[in-house]
């Protein structure tokens, strides 16, 4: 099945067409420079010393022997690092720092691998020898690596302060004032009772006290009046992001500014993050990241350890490269939090969900509370549209590596918890699996989550039903369904899953210059992490201005090069947010071109049109080329060439624009266009699997993802995102996991062959994608982001297909490997340990 975009999509000159991205030749020739590829004269190296214990306090450090070694330049501990800083919102409100948050180095390591100090020396060999000479006296503290264990009475806590996160409820906003910023999260001790644990039998998740909850509708009545109520527990895995590029960073100082070569998803947004970590003015921070080797949510604004070479560099007065090894990346490289979920879901006999009662336990690691538990509930409420729902959540600390968002954070886990139930319900009620998804699917401005301010929020649009219809036809669902399920030692099954997530933000800036050479020089603050949105978004600029793409030059990846304020490249915001920014900037250019033409050629601005690299009078008459207009813009000055910067743009953009002043026609604008609803995207995944019943091994024969992402901007890049993120989800189904020894609280699986990210051999034999192509009505170009929803769809289409092949009750957690299948088939019941973490 070739990839295709449904004819729904309106025809554009450039949008929806493939093109060669400007970064590609450098990539294929090996010339593209990632953080570790930079060399600076006099560069020194740094390596980290990691905690051997899951939880300890450093009593003393004796580094004298190391410092006495020739070639050793400095040692950095947490005492040399700035304290956690408060953050400030755009509205000027202070978000107080989480005082328990990760600082990069620590004297109270809270997981094995937590960096204690960094050694800087002339080369890494010397760093290693020096580290082995350092003696650290640790006081071992109690540890726990299983979120359920720490909730048992009398069990250890991961932090001295406690074991669960609470976010105190902020006071309601005063009339006329914006809502107050979220208060700093706090850690407290919470233990469930023996009775809570005793009440749950047969692998069901105990439901003790939750720390957080919301609800809408009469969920109790919904469950009571249902024809079928399923009560199921499922566990999703902790999965390291395992970006192929580790978070290596190199830094040096010049004229009071720090130049940081780091691995980050976002370019512009990394500047304020680094500035906050270093307690510096953002104008003194230059971030260089032209190419980033993957992020998946773990490098949204790089990570805090990137300040270590920066601080060391200042200390030793030379550039410092801190290479992060794969094992170190396992520790500091972040991971998706696992969720233990228990769901009671009511169905009518025709398959409509009546109510959901959801209880989720999120293993948040040792440092930050994660939003995954809450987002799991919100996305579930959108995807399956339960008319009534209760959500209860608890975010538990463990002495395991820090967690952070990973592609479809929370949304993924919500889908993973819900899909097995939907699948089981379809089997029990005798309803087709596609049909049960369609019955419960959102449509139009569908609601999600609990009411805020008396009204439930809603999305901008949803065309998932269309996606299911397209997929059902393209996948030949009904034909496959009619086929035999068993032959020889093999069983086959088909599965479908739907998935959704946030797909766009608003409010960022566009910035470019039309120079007298007639070319458009676009400044892109978007990170280049492989999605190609760094150039894709600017296709809109060319589209709107009516110029060939070859006339567009994109500058990216270096905040010393005058980039605009841009959304973080995370959470699939970019294609939505930055096509909007490109759109408004292009219209700013258009307006200015029209005004210049009117000034020079007479008439009113609105008499002119822009196209064919010219600005021309509608219905014939005078015209001028963009090159001429650019020259005129410089002569005119003022707003035209950037001598006057509009008030509305972010100060980051304004500063960049000032450096571009006088080079041509300066287009600059902030996206203030209205949007009714929250932008979300959707994917329906279809899969067929074949299981070998004698070995438990299974192959994915076929996979199709149909995406509702609004307008397609760049089909090949979109296909990469849809199938790439689908594979990321499939990885969660077929192998990715953590393994911990609970006695010592230490990880056993730190290598790729232990954590099992999928190889090309795990990829489905056939993969294809399609796009619904219906533009989102709330954004001018109609494009939404796609990085997230394929993950849940990929994972659960596979697992639903597996249930279809093997029946219910073979597995109750992901990933599902040969051992689980074989042991359960042998015993005739689920044999894996349902609730133990990290097995």
């Amino acid at each position: 099945m070739p990839a295709k975009i449904s004819p729904n999509q309106p025809a554009y000159r450039l949008l929806g067409k493939n093109y060669e991205t400007p970064d590609l030749v450098a990539k294929v020739t090996g010339k593209a420079k990632y953080a570790e590829d930079y060399r600076a004269e006099g560069m020194l190296f740094a390596r980290l010393l990691l905690s051997p214990m899951p939880h300890a306090r450093v009593r003393s450090i004796d580094a004298s022997a190391a410092l006495a070694m020739p070639g050793v330049k400095a040692i950095l501990t947490v005492d040399d690092l700035p304290a956690p800083a408060d953050a400030m919102t755009d509205l000027g409100q202070v978000i107080p720092a989480n005082k328990l948050a990760e600082r990069g180095l620590t004297n109270e390591p809270v997981y094995q691998g937590d960096p204690i100090l960094a050694v800087c020396a002339v080369d890494e060999y010397t760093c290693a020898e020096a580290i082995e000479k350092i003696r650290i006296d640790y006081e071992r503290l109690p540890h726990v690596v299983d979120p359920l264990v720490t909730l048992r009475p009398g069990s250890p806590n991961a932090r001295v302060e406690g074991n669960v996160w609470l976010r105190p409820v902020a006071a309601p906003p005063k009339p006329g004032q914006p809502p107050p910023p979220p208060s700093a999260p706090q850690v407290q001790e919470l233990k469930w009772t023996d009775a809570d644990f005793a009440a749950s039998k047969d692998g069901q998740l105990p439901m003790g006290k939750a720390t957080d909850k919301w609800e809408y509708g009469d969920w109790e009545a919904g469950l009571k009046n249902a024809d079928l109520v399923l009560d199921e527990t499922f566990v999703s895995p902790n999965t390291s992001h395992q970006c192929l590029e580790t978070r290596t960073a190199m830094a040096y100082w010049q004229n009071g500014k720090v130049y940081l070569h780091c691995s980050t998803q976002s370019t512009s947004q990394t500047v304020p993050a680094v500035a906050r970590w270093l307690h510096m003015d953002a104008s003194d921070v230059i971030v260089i990241s032209e190419y980033t080797g993957g992020g998946f949510g773990s490098k949204i604004t790089s990570s805090i350890q990137c300040i270590i070479p920066a601080v060391l560099s200042k200390k030793v007065g030379a550039p410092v490269m801190m290479r992060i090894s794969r094992e170190e990346e396992h520790f500091i490289g972040k991971a998706r939090p696992s969720i233990h979920g228990r769901m009671k879901v009511g169905f009518t006999k025709d398959g409509r969900i009546t109510a959901v009662d959801m209880f989720v336990l999120c293993e948040s690691g040792p440092y930050d509370p994660q939003g995954d538990a809450n987002q799991a509930g919100r996305q579930l409420s959108l995807m399956y549209q339960p008319p009534a729902m209760r959500w209860q959540g608890i975010s538990v600390l463990t002495n395991t590596p820090p967690r952070v968002s990973q592609s479809q954070p929370g949304g993924f886990q919500g889908i993973v918890l819900m899909e097995p139930i939907l699948s089981k319900a379809a089997r029990k009620l005798g309803i087709d699996h596609v049909a049960i998804h369609r019955i419960n699917a959102p449509e139009g401005k569908a609601s999600l989550g609990p009411a805020a301010g008396g009204k439930r929020p809603y999305v901008t649009s949803a065309f998932i039903k269309e996606a299911l219809d397209i997929g059902k036809a393209s996948f030949h669902w009904d034909e496959r369904k009619a086929r035999a399920k068993r032959s020889g030692t093999k069983a086959r099954g088909i599965g479908v899953a739907t998935s959704c997530f946030v797909g766009g933000s608003v409010g960022f800036d566009g910035l470019f210059v039309i120079k007298p050479d007639g070319k458009v020089y676009v400044q892109s603050g978007i990170g280049n992490l492989g999605t190609e949105s760094v150039s894709d978004c600017h296709r809109v600029t060319a589209e709107v201005l009516g110029i060939p793409w070859e006339k567009v030059e994109v500058t990216w990846g270096h905040t010393g090069r005058n980039l605009p304020w841009t959304c973080p490249s995370g959470g699939s915001q970019t294609i939505h947010a930055m096509t909007r920014a490109a759109f408004v900037a292009a219209h700013d250019a258009k307006d200015k071109l029209q005004q210049i033409a009117a000034k020079d050629l007479g008439g009113r601005a609105e008499d002119y049109e822009v196209g064919g690299e010219r600005v021309y009078r509608k219905g014939g008459g005078g015209s001028m080329s963009l090159a001429q207009a650019a020259k005129r813009a410089i002569e005119l000055g003022g707003i035209y060439d950037g001598h006057e910067i509009p008030k509305g743009v972010n100060k980051f953009t304004a500063a960049s624009a000032q450096n571009l002043t006088g080079q041509g026609l300066l287009a600059i604008a902030r996206d203030t266009m209205p949007r009714d609803g929250l932008t979300h995207s959707y994917v329906a995944g279809f899969a067929e699997v074949e299981v070998d019943l004698e070995t438990g091994r299974y192959d994915i024969l076929d996979y199709l993802a149909v995406a509702d992402v609004g307008t397609v901007i760049h089909p090949r890049a979109l296909g990469g995102q849809i199938l790439g993120r689908s594979m990321l989800g499939i990885g969660h189904a077929v192998g990715q996991k953590w393994v911990y020894d609970q006695h010592y609280g230490l990880p056993l699986a730190k290598r790729f062959h232990h954590n099992k990210p999928p190889t090309i051999m795990e990829a489905p034999t056939k993969m294809a994608w399609e796009a619904v192509g219906l533009p989102d009505p709330e954004t001018p170009i109609g494009a939404r982001g796609i990085g997230e929803p394929p993950v849940g769809a990929g994972c659960m289409a596979i697992l639903n297909a597996l249930s279809d092949a093997l029946g219910d009750d073979v597995f109750r957690r992901a990933p599902v490997l040969a051992d689980t299948i074989l042991a359960s088939l042998e015993a005739g019941r689920p044999m894996e340990e349902g609730l133990t973490a990290h097995i």
Binding site: P52, M53, R140, D741, H743, Y744, L746
Partner: protein
């Protein structure tokens, strides 16, 4: 070269794990050296043993049976069971360490259990059926030991008295074997929790790494100590002047002549049974 080998625990702490295995050779060579020195001493330098006259009436000596009962059948059985177990333990423990690898663990723990059982039997038996205190050195033994030492080193001292049932060396040896044997069996019993046996679930986590390390060191020290002790024991058992005692461990009794020469009937009343 330390006496103990250390390892890094999973938490990065330095903990003892066992004795340094060269101590096996130290014990063996030390034991051997002792035998040689002792044999030479006895052969060339030792004075004839002299005892203080006994208060025991001479005519009563006639009543001493030809065979003076020394060890009950139960005691002798215990001794030989224990010795077989002990040899099995030493062989299974140390041969693989000195270049003769074989599947030793199962034999070792089974032998260990036999040894333990025999010791438990012995303690109960000795406490309730035997003269419990007969084997413990008393004040006379200590006084006589001082006398012997003085005389051996050329100082003047009254001759020591004849022995009770057990000569002083015997008692001291028992004490040494008791200490090392109890150390090795108690630690060994706990260590069985660390290997797979049909008896209980393997669980090395009943103690912390440090406690275990010390336990292994104690087990090892007692074990190599036993090498020396057993060597000495076998040596003495084979020495002609002690052979009567060795025989008594087989047949249960000593000859009247031996009895009268070495033992004081006041301190050990002769019986034929």
């Amino acid at each position: 070269m330390g006496l103990v080998e250390f390892a890094t625990s999973p938490w990065g702490q330095t903990v003892p794990i066992h004795i340094a295995f060269y101590l096996i050779w130290v014990a063996a060579i030390g034991g051997l050296a002792f035998l040689i020195v002792h044999a030479i001493y006895v052969q060339f330098f030792a004075k004839k043993e002299e005892f203080a006259p006994s208060a025991y009436p001479a005519q009563a000596a006639a009543n001493v049976p030809a065979k003076v009962h020394r060890h009950t059948l139960a005691s002798r059985l215990f001794h030989w069971v224990m010795s077989v177990a002990m040899f099995a333990l030493l062989i299974t423990a140390f041969l693989p360490r000195v270049g003769f690898p074989f599947d030793w663990v199962t034999y070792h723990w089974i032998a260990g259990l036999v040894l333990t059982a025999s010791i438990v039997f012995h303690i109960i038996h000795a406490s309730f059926w035997l003269d419990f205190w007969a084997i413990w050195p008393d004040s006379i033994d200590i006084e006589d030991a001082k006398r012997r030492w003085s005389r051996a080193t050329g100082k003047s001292a009254p001759p020591p008295r004849k022995f009770a049932k057990y000569p002083m060396e015997n008692k001291v040896y028992h004490l040494a074997i008791l200490l090392s044997g109890l150390s090795v069996t108690l630690t060994g019993l706990f260590m069985m929790k660390r290997v797979r046996t049909p008896l209980f679930t393997r669980n090395p986590y009943i103690f912390g790494d440090m406690t275990w390390g010390l336990m292994y060191v104690l087990h090892g020290l007692a074990g190599v100590g036993l090498i020396g002790l057993i060597m000495a024991h076998v040596y003495f058992a084979l020495r002609p002047e002690k052979f009567a005692i060795t025989k008594s461990m087989v047949f249960g009794s000593v000859d009247r002549e031996h009895y009268l020469e070495h033992h004081d009937p006041e301190r050990w009343a002769p019986t034929s049974k």
